[in-house]
């Protein structure tokens, strides 16, 4: 079905977020980031630069790590989205998150949610990455606290655990 939404018209968008079917209203110019936060109260999605540079808003769409600030909620009808809230059950941490804790891979934590989702997709594609490959993937994220050393160590460590090593 072709879709046409007038500039100020609010369209109902139904999608899956962290395994649950969710629904909310969005006019065409509403960023997916704002839709997730303000309509669906998914506050793990962080808002940084709003033009695709900093990586704070990174989420998984159908398993792929993408920016949520450079796409619009109206585009997302039927999409399957994972945010940091969906990585582990409440009160628990998954293997990657535990490695972040162990290696002090975060300080203020603003960039962390996005990095966790990028690393999730990245490790799903390549569970034996080199440090250079991890750093290349991280070039899509800006962290102003850590200098990335702990982040790289955590991801390498998690890769080892996920391989069963």
């Amino acid at each position: 079905m072709s879709v046409r939404v007038a500039p100020e018209q609010k369209q109902r968008i139904t999608l899956t977020v962290n395994g649950k079917v969710r629904s909310g209203l969005a006019e065409p110019r509403m960023l997916l980031t704002d839709f997730l936060r303000h309509e669906l109260q998914v506050f793990g999605v962080h808002v940084g630069c709003e033009h695709g540079v900093c990586g704070a808003c990174t989420i998984l769409v159908a398993g792929r790590a993408v920016r949520s600030c450079t796409r619009y909620a109206v585009q997302m009808e039927g999409a399957d989205i994972t945010t940091v809230e969906g990585l582990a059950d409440p009160g628990t941490l998954n293997v990657l998150q535990q490695a972040f804790v162990r290696h002090h891979a975060l300080q203020c934590g603003f960039c962390t949610a996005g990095i966790l989702l990028s690393a999730t997709h990245f490790l799903a594609k390549n569970n034996a990455p080199s440090e250079a490959e991890v750093r290349d993937m991280l070039s899509g994220h800006i962290c102003r606290c850590t200098g990335y050393v702990g982040i790289v160590a955590a991801i390498m460590d998690a890769a080892g655990t996920l391989r069963g090593g």
């Binding site: 046409r4 939404v5 960023l31 920016r67 619009y72 585009q75 070039s139």
Partner: protein
Amino acid sequence: MKPVAFEYCRPDTLGEALDILAERREAAAVLAGGMTLGPMLNLRMVRPKTVIDISRLAGLDRIELRGDRVVTGATVIQADALDSDVVRHELPLLALALPWVGHFQTRNAGTLGGSVAHADPSAEIPLCLVVAGATVVLRGKRRERRVAARAFFTGALSTVRQSDEMVVAIEWPRAPADSGCAFEEIAQRHGDFAIAAAGCELRLDGAGRLAGLSLGLGGVEDRPIAVDTGGFVGRPADAAAAKAIALYAAQSVDPMDDRGASADYRRALSQVLAERVVLRAAEAARQKGAVAR
């Protein structure tokens, strides 16, 4: 950092998309992966009345072998092209250039056609088109036309595309099995806009001489450019030739001068990068020749 209000259209068919485009013309923007249009909308550098979302249109996301060509649809996602066996085997230059395009996270959404239609002077994919001698397929409501990449890009963010036309595909010549390729760029930070980039595709004859040579530079002038390398064909593909070609390339460009880099710096990078890619492409071609023998 929020776009102006716009009308959103997600047509089911290409025909319908072209009808809307023909009606709205300059007031419309075509959205695929949103890795360029998204930032431009959010920063209000563009203020379209209508956004036409082609990201779900059937058939535009295919990579197909057709005789001596490879046809990549406009909405092929860069990450999918990078993972494609067809691209790896038949379009080795594109395969080498794609890791330089943005970041892991942007390549997961950005498309080949979007980068071509946007025509950033420093973009890698347009440079590959120019080096490979690819053709851009444009479609409007009433006609389809094919434009050689070297004629398609007319300046920074400017192409010959008319306002009622859409980039629907790119047609690439299949790289000969014995050709060697190389791609290099320099940016402030990996994934940033290239200050200068170079791509090379070449073939050697049985005696190790240059049988064919295509060299292009990106980020140097206001559009990706092909260096006229005809005078070097027939020369031995050695270090002296690479130096001579690089010097010629650096002398023939008319570099941009802006706050990113001075014209002199871009000229210097052009020479360094051109020499590197010619040497590497020749080495790659020699290795393929050795394997074949």
